[in-house]
Every structure is written in structure tokens, then in C-alpha cells.
Amino acid sequence: MVGFNGAGKSTVVRTLAGRQDPVAGDVRVHGLPVMPDAVMFRRQVATVFDEDVFFPSLTVREHLLLVARGHSVGAPEEAVDAELDYFGIADRAHAVPDALSSGQRRRLLLAAGFIRPSSLLFLDEPEQRLDPVMRDALSRRIRERADAGTTVVVVTHDPRLLVRTATSCLVIDETVTTVGTERGAQIIAGA
């Protein structure tokens, strides 16, 4: 999902995720009304938005362990170690979120989004605050998750991420149109 600042991309994904009410009409996910309080909805829909969603007093490892255990991930300790390695924060595993840099907190948010199973994953500008190497790793990870059957909806301003991960591109402007990923990348670049 691409578009200029203020076009409404984040509003759309937040509405789809049940974080805010629709301005008009109704929203359905998997054919059912959006019910963010329903256990089934929480089990199936994962989000990584811009807010830091952490227990301030739990360490990085403990936070990921909570998400893994909460979503009944098999062998949660091993899964946590794998995510810590993948997102490059293994050396900060025993730090609390306040002690992390902005980019490290972003990596933790992404790790928490990817460690749990979900059928629908919303990522709102996941490339923000990440260095180029991690952006490449992220695009691979998104691709893997999509190949495994999860529907991944990504809002992005990064043409490279779009081209490397997306199968279709929704442009939100004054109108909503579907274009190819190459054209989407050109729109992001202002061409």
C-alpha cells in the first residue's frame, strides 16, 4: 500500500486491524466483522505499527517470550533465540526497552510481530528506523511469511522493499487503484 503522506494509508490499516472505527461503511476481515476484542481475531491478526508496544519492565527476551508463549508457539525459547538473531538484537536480549536505541526498538517490534503465528499481518512502514541491511533482511522475512500462507499488508515508502516483497500494490490517493509493483515504486519515487 503506497501513497503520499496524509493519503490515509495508516488509517486504512488501523481500521482493518480494528484500532479505529471506519469512517463509513463496514469492514470485514476473513468475511467476518472486525472484532478486535474477540479471541479469534487476536489470534489471527498481527500488527506492527509505529507505537512501542512493550511492557516497560520486561526485557527484550522476556517480551518476545511472552508473545511466543501467549500464542502457543512450540519451543518458545528456541523461537525467541532465532528471532533475536534474525533481527540482530541478541546482544540486547537482557535490556529493557527504554535502554534500546530507536532502531533496536523497531527491530523488537518486528520480532514480536513475526514470532507469533497469524493469518493476517499488518505492517505500517516497517522499514522506518532500520538500516539498509536490516531492510533487506526484513523484505526476505516478509516474503517467507507470505510464501508460508500469511496475508501480509505492508504500508511503505521504500520502493526497494515494495519491489522485493509485494505481489500487488494498492495506491491510495484521491482514488484507490491497483498497479504493478514497478509502477508503485515509480509512484513512491515521485516519477
Binding site: V39, F54, F55, S57, L58, L65, G70, S72
Partner: protein, 467 residues
């Protein structure tokens, strides 16, 4: 202006009526008649007890003043003026002197009812001299707090200030001459003579810290938000991070609820400060029933009620942190009601322990049978729900016209915001307080306590509160 004057007159009349009524009540009553515990043990003579209370009040002034500054600058002043190489004294001195006058006046006025209630045989002029002497003590306390701002406050410097307050606390009780007043005034003048030329030397970061804390506290008072006021007065977060419960957290769990409960338990253990305040309130609640036989039982119960509400408010930190980040509640596939129950668990356990200890101590002192402890534990569980409920107070609604009160215009939902959480805490404590008043635990009271605590927990679990 009219509203302020009306409010001041109302407050003075209410306080005056209360003081006179209490004095008559205390004068008329026999010691040991209808008190909370069967055998009163006056372990400390009344005069010494009053001096201890006065001393603790002055220590409280020092501690509070040190947290609020007392020498401060606001955020805008800090941004504009602190970087400039100018003398800071004209910037900080007027506000500091204003605070001194305010503290002196408030201390004097506050001391008047205390003096009237504790010393019956004084003339009005003697009460006045004692009050002004205590007000001078308040000025010394604040000036001492400002002296501590000049350099890193070592334990020795703090101890020096606290020791100096010991004789000052005793001075208001010597009323045969004006000598105590002269002594306090001389000490205050000497401290000010030392401080005023140096007040511009207080470090910029210290000035900003005091300004931030006092600004936060003032805003909390303006919004009548006691929870926020408490947070503002908590010492600035230290660099020390607690890792309590790491081993417990690492153990295997099964299911999302167990995982969440474990996270809430560990988070609670880590954010809770040492239980000093809870123990002080526990000691005060027990002490007021044992050492003040002349105090009416209703007042003794009021002290217990206030102590219970304050200790309860201190257990809702995790709930507040998670309420601020609402998405935390949606992290796991658990119903919102169960999430709220998980948040309530530790505050309920902590308060059950506190009320259990309180009722246990009262039972040992002769307040009643051991069933009181059961009642206390049940009450504590409901009080914990009150702590969690208070974490989701509605924000002030400025979109509707405020309600006019004698104290000025107040936003429409301010009172409901203030009462949120406290309502359930008081509800949960009511059967316990009633049992203490009656001196016996009737079976109906146990049922009432069960209903009250269950209601508090159910209301908290079922009502998410505004975000």
C-alpha cells in the same frame, strides 16, 4: 474573586466547626469508652506524641520541598535563560521567596486546629504564637531543602537538616514566652542570609528538575488527579533497572493466560518500590488506634480508610503503564475481561496482605476475633480491583461547559474521574470498617464483604474504561 472568597470562607467555617465539635467531643468523652481496640496502651506520653507528629510534619515539608525544588525554573525559562551567562538569582529568587511565604502561612494555619485539639488549656494568643512558631519551622524546613540544592546532597547534610528540625518541632509547645518564636525567626533569617547570595549557584539541571516536578504536580492538582499527583511526587526514575523474578519468569508456562499472569506478576515485582510507604501507613493505622485513646473511633476509622486508599493507589503502576499503551491488552489471544483480571491479581494480593497484616495487628491488640483477618483479606482483594480501575480514568472533557462550583469552574466529568477506582476501594473497605466499628464480625458482614469485593472485581473486569 467572589468565588475564591466564598470558597475560603466555606473552608474556614467547615474547619472551624469540625475543630470545635471535635474539641467538645474529646473533652466530654471518657478514655477507653467506645474505642477501636479493647485495651488502649498509651506507650508514648501525649506531649511527646504531639511533638513527634509536629516533627514528622516538618520532615514531610523538607522531603516534599526537596522533590518540588524548592528553587526552580519553568520549562520556557530554562530554554531561554539558562544557556545565557547571566546571574540567575533575579530569576529564581522571587518565586522562591513567594513559596517561603506560602509555606509559612499554610503551616501556621494548619497548625491552629492541631494546637486547639491537642492543648486545651492555652489562651487564643498562645495558640497564635505556637502557630506562627510552627510556620517559622516550615520556613526553616523549606530553606533547608533549598540549601540541599546547592551541592550534591550527602547523607550527612540531609541528616544535619533533619536533626536541626528536632528542637524546632518542640518549640511550638513552649508558649510561656515569645522566645521560641524569636529563636525560629533567627534561625530562618540566618539560613536565608546564607542562601540568598548563593541561590544563583544552584545547578541548571537541578533547577529544571524541580521545575518539571512542580509543574507536573501543579497540573495534577489543577485536574484533581490524585494518581497523577502521586506519580509526579515519586522520585525521578533512577538508572537502576530491577530484574526481580527473572528465574520465575523463565519457567515453563502453558497457555496465553498463564503467560500473561506471569508477565503481570514479574512486572509488578519490578515496578513496585520498597514497601516503606505501605509499612508507614500500616504503622500509622495501628498506632492511631493504640496510642490515641481520646480520638473518636470514627476518626480512627477515617485514618484507616485514608491509609487504605493511599496504599491501594500505590499498587496500580503496572495497570497504568499498560493502560497508557492500550495495544498491550490486545497482544495475546485472551478476552479483555481476563486481561483485566490478570492486571488485578497482584494489586489484589498485595492489598490482601496489607489488610491482613492490619487486621491481624488489631486482633492481637484486642479489636476482635481472628475472623477479622479473613474479612481483611477479602477486603484487600476488592481494594486491588480499585487500584486497577483507577488506572483507566477518563480524560478531562473540555468539550462541554464546565460546572460552576464555589471553588471555581470544574470540567463536567472531573468528579467521576477522581472517584474512579476510589469508589471500589471504599466499597471494598466498608464492611471491614463496619466490623471494626462494631467490634465483632457478624456472619452477615462476611457475606457483605464477599459481595462488596466480588462487585469491585466484577466491575473492574467488565468495564474497560475510557481510553
Amino acid at each position: 474573586m467572589y468565588s475564591n472568597a466564598l470558597a475560603a470562607v466555606c473552608v474556614m467555617m467547615m474547619v472551624g466547626s469540625l475543630v470545635v465539635a471535635l474539641r467538645e467531643e474529646i473533652t466530654a468523652r471518657n478514655i477507653g469508652d467506645s474505642t477501636l481496640v479493647a485495651e488502649q496502651s498509651q506507650v508514648v506520653p501525649a506531649g511527646i506524641l504531639c511533638m513527634v507528629v509536629a516533627y514528622l510534619a516538618l520532615v514531610g515539608v523538607v522531603v516534599l520541598a526537596r522533590k518540588l525544588g524548592p528553587v526552580t525554573v519553568g520549562q520556557a525559562e530554562a530554554a531561554w535563560w539558562l544557556p545565557l551567562p547571566i546571574d540567575r538569582r533575579p530569576m529564581v529568587l522571587p518565586s522562591f521567596l513567594t513559596r517561603l511565604v506560602a509555606v509559612g502561612s499554610i503551616s501556621s494555619i494548619t497548625y491552629v486546629p492541631f494546637s486547639v485539639l491537642t492543648t486545651f488549656d492555652r489562651s487564643p494568643s498562645a495558640h497564635g504564637i505556637a502557630a506562627v512558631t510552627f510556620g517559622g519551622g516550615g520556613v526553616v524546613a523549606v530553606t533547608g531543602a533549598a540549601v540541599l540544592q546547592l551541592a550534591p546532597a550527602t547523607t550527612g547534610r540531609r541528616a544535619g537538616i533533619f536533626l536541626a528540625l528536632l528542637p524546632i518541632a518542640a518549640l511550638p509547645f513552649i508558649t510561656s514566652t515569645v522566645l521560641p518564636l524569636v529563636l525560629v525567626a533567627s534561625l530562618a533569617a540566618a539560613l536565608l542570609a546564607y542562601l540568598v547570595p548563593r541561590v544563583g549557584d544552584v545547578h541548571g539541571t537541578e533547577l529544571q528538575r524541580g521545575g518539571a516536578v512542580s509543574g507536573h504536580a501543579a497540573a495534577s492538582i489543577f485536574f484533581v488527579d490524585l494518581n497523577e499527583l502521586r506519580r509526579s511526587l515519586m522520585v525521578a526514575p533512577s538508572a537502576h533497572v530491577s530484574f526481580r523474578g527473572s528465574r520465575y519468569y523463565g519457567r515453563h508456562t502453558r497457555g496465553p493466560l498463564a503467560a500473561l499472569v506471569r508477565a503481570d506478576v514479574v512486572a509488578f515485582l519490578r515496578v513496585q518500590p520498597p514497601p516503606t510507604a505501605a509499612l508507614v501507613w500500616l504503622g500509622l493505622s495501628v498506632g492511631v488506634t493504640v496510642m490515641t485513646p481520646t480520638l473518636p473511633v470514627v476518626l480512627q476509622l477515617t485514618v484507616i480508610l485514608i491509609a487504605g486508599c493511599l496504599v491501594t493507589a500505590g499498587t496500580g503502576t503496572v495497570a497504568r503503564q499498560t493502560a497508557v499503551t492500550a495495544e498491550l491488552d490486545t497482544l495475546l489471544p485472551i478476552s479483555p475481561a481476563l486481561v483485566r483480571c490478570s492486571r488485578t491479581l497482584m494489586p489484589a494480593l498485595a492489598m490482601a496482605t496489607w489488610t491482613g497484616a492490619l487486621t491481624g495487628a488489631l486482633v492481637v491488640l484486642g479489636a476482635g476475633t481472628p475472623v477479622f483477618v479473613l474479612l481483611g483479606v477479602l477486603a484487600g482483594a476488592g481494594m486491588g480491583a480499585g487500584a486497577t480501575r483507577a488506572a483507566t480514568r477518563p480524560p478531562t472533557d473540555w468539550t462541554t461547559p464546565p460546572v460552576e462550583t464555589p471553588f471555581g469552574p470544574v470540567p463536567r466529568n472531573q468528579m467521576s474521574s477522581l472517584l474512579r477506582g476510589t469508589d471500589m476501594t471504599v466499597l471494598a473497605m466498608t464492611p471491614l470498617l463496619l466490623a471494626l466499628y462494631l467490634g465483632t464480625v457478624h456472619p452477615w458482614l462476611i457475606i457483605a464483604q464477599l459481595i462488596a469485593s466480588t462487585t469491585a472485581i466484577t466491575v473492574q473486569a467488565s468495564n474497560p474504561g475510557p481510553r
